[in-house]
């Protein structure tokens, strides 16, 4: 295990360290995007404005979906660590499924917004909102593909607890996408109606 993971002077698996560094940089990107959204908040000249299009019950449900997927993610990692491959496959599939459901909600929301007259170039709200949530949606999509790839790979060649660190970094990425949504849900959606 030592040689395979290539432990260095940090005594840490470098793939995992690398993932944390990537997540730190991703924090900065989302910080800038959320900051941009807020900087231009209430500066749109023409409707629709956020209160006209946001649907809090719908977004709450999609937030639940993403939370559950995060939960399934830790279960999948736990199953792989104890070499319970059937459960690892089940939970990993569950994460990808719930991630896809979340994306479905987002596609539904985007279509609804565009039908309401809000496009990415319509007003400042449209521009900043679609760039922010779209970037997040792409992150979710990448995570879904990553986990599906992991799942398919487990059928192609034997997967065991030795591969847990690779699932762990996919999991770190997935949870990060979840916490970004936790912030977006509050800052972009909920605060609008306070």
């Amino acid at each position: 295990m030592m040689t395979r993971l290539g432990w260095r002077s940090t005594r840490l698996p470098d793939v995992k360290l690398l993932m944390w560094v990537f997540l730190a940089s991703d924090c900065m990107m989302f910080g800038a995007l959320i900051g941009t959204y807020l900087a231009y908040h209430n500066r749109s000249l023409v409707p629709p404005f956020p209160v006209d299009v946001f649907d809090i019950p719908l977004t709450t449900v999609s937030s639940f979906v993403l939370l559950v997927s995060s939960f399934l993610m830790v279960l999948a990692l736990h199953a792989l660590r104890i070499d319970d491959i059937p459960k690892f496959r089940l939970w990993t599939f569950g994460v990808a499924l719930f991630g896809s459901i979340f994306l479905g909600f987002q596609v539904y929301e985007f279509v609804h917004f565009v039908n309401a007259g809000l496009s990415i170039h319509h007003n400042l709200f449209g521009t900043t909102f679609f760039v922010l949530t779209g970037t997040h949606g792409i992150h979710v999509a990448v995570g879904v593909l990553w986990l599906l790839g992991f799942l398919i790979q487990s059928y192609v060649r034997p997967t065991s607890s030795k591969d847990a660190v690779y699932l762990e970094i996919a999991g770190l990425y997935w949870h990060f996408v979840d916490i970004v949504w936790i912030v977006i849900f509050t800052v972009v959606y909920l605060v609008e109606f306070v």
């Binding site: 730190a24 924090c27 900065m28 900051g35 939370l67 999991g171």
Partner: protein, 362 residues
């Protein structure tokens, strides 16, 4: 990292239940607002709940709790930089606007007081250059490009009574046919009369100065009031222009071809062609969409400036019409009341474009 099999799963279940409950509470707070909580505390509560969720996921699902400190070190530094960026952006966009009203005004007042004592205000060179470009800092009479003395070739008598035909007398070479019959009442007193005056400025060489009414003795008190030229605050006009407009429309109102339309000449032309009220609407509600100015196409966005006061908007309008060229003949300066009367129009910036189209300016 390694945990007892059932212990770890138990923790995960507990955490996801807490996360679910918090999400529901957040939803409930927004969907069923609690009046007793107040807006500020509702915000604080929502932010706190969000932070708790964030920490639960990071500590337990991402296992930062109990994992190597190097991971949390990297992640925290990323978070700190992200937060700093976030705070800097918020400060950049929100503080200057707040300062406009409070501190900036106080500073300007303090500066004026200072000028009174010592007779001179230190103006940084770049600011001086800006002000010098449009010449607004100098009294009108001292300016090299000051408009020539008014040609009072037309005498207009104010109306005597509601039913009377307004009488006017042309003593100069002006084209009579172009001069519509209209009252020359003091605009500050009568808004409608002021609005009705706008078409006559089209006539070349026709001067319809209200004070021309002085020539006629018959109007009594009203005529005396009408004789007073409407004064407007030139300093405020220049100040508002340099603080808000100069970035796009440039120091002498020349604009940037293709990007920001010129005001010099154009604003006065729009005013002369019946756009007196339209100009107020542009300032209050913005303007969005394709327009053509002096043969050049523009498809941009003029923001709304409704956050400026009625006085500021009136004076900046007077500034762009009067200071960027010859003062249009018969121009009646805008007053705060002219602006206040349009605040309730409730137009969108696209609707203002329609007003422009109706004026036939495109």
């Amino acid at each position: 990292m390694a945990k007892g099999n059932n212990g770890a799963v138990g923790t995960y279940i507990l955490i996801v239940l807490i996360l679910g409950v918090i999400t529901y509470v957040e939803f409930a707070i927004v969907e069923y607002p609690q009046a007793w909580l107040g807006q500020t505390w509702t915000m604080v509560l929502l932010a706190a709940l969000s932070v708790v969720k964030f920490l639960l996921v990071v500590l337990f699902f991402m296992h930062l709790k109990g994992d190597d400190r190097m991971y949390s070190g990297f992640f925290s530094s990323g978070m700190v930089i992200a937060l700093a960026t976030f705070i800097a952006m918020t400060a950049m966009f929100i503080l200057p606007r707040a300062m406009n009203y409070g501190e900036a005004r106080e500073r300007a007042a303090a500066l004026e007081g200072h000028a009174g004592e010592h007779g001179e205000v230190h103006v940084p060179e770049d600011v001086a250059a800006l002000i010098e470009t449009d010449g607004a800092s100098r009294p009108l009479a001292e300016r090299a490009d000051a408009p020539p003395p008014l040609d009072r070739s037309v005498t207009i008598e104010p109306p005597l009574a509601a039913g009377d035909e307004p009488a006017y007398e042309v003593t100069g070479a002006a084209d009579q046919a172009a001069a519509p019959a209209e009252p020359a009442d003091a605009p500050a007193e009568d808004e409608d009369a002021a609005a009705a005056q706008r078409p006559e400025t089209e006539a070349p060489g026709l001067q319809a100065e209200p004070e021309a009414a002085e020539a006629e003795e018959s109007a009594g008190q009203d005529a005396a009031a009408a004789a007073q030229p409407v004064e407007w605050d030139r300093d405020m006009g220049a100040q508002v222009y340099n603080a808000n407009c100069v970035g796009c429309h440039q120091g002498a109102g020349q604009g940037i071809p293709g990007a920001f339309p010129p005001l010099a000449g154009h604003a006065a032309e729009v005013h002369a062609e019946g756009g007196r009220e339209y100009l107020v609407q542009v300032l209050l509600f913005g303007l969005q969409g394709p327009i053509q100015v002096e043969g050049m196409n523009y498809n941009g966005l003029m923001p709304a400036w409704a956050h400026l006061s009625d006085d500021q908007i009136a004076n900046v309008l007077n500034h762009v019409i009067v200071e960027f060229g010859d003062e249009p003949a018969g121009f009646v300066p805008y007053t705060a009341a002219d602006v206040a009367g349009h605040r309730g129009d409730g137009l969108s910036s696209a609707a203002v474009l329609e007003v422009r189209d109706q004026l036939g300016l495109n």
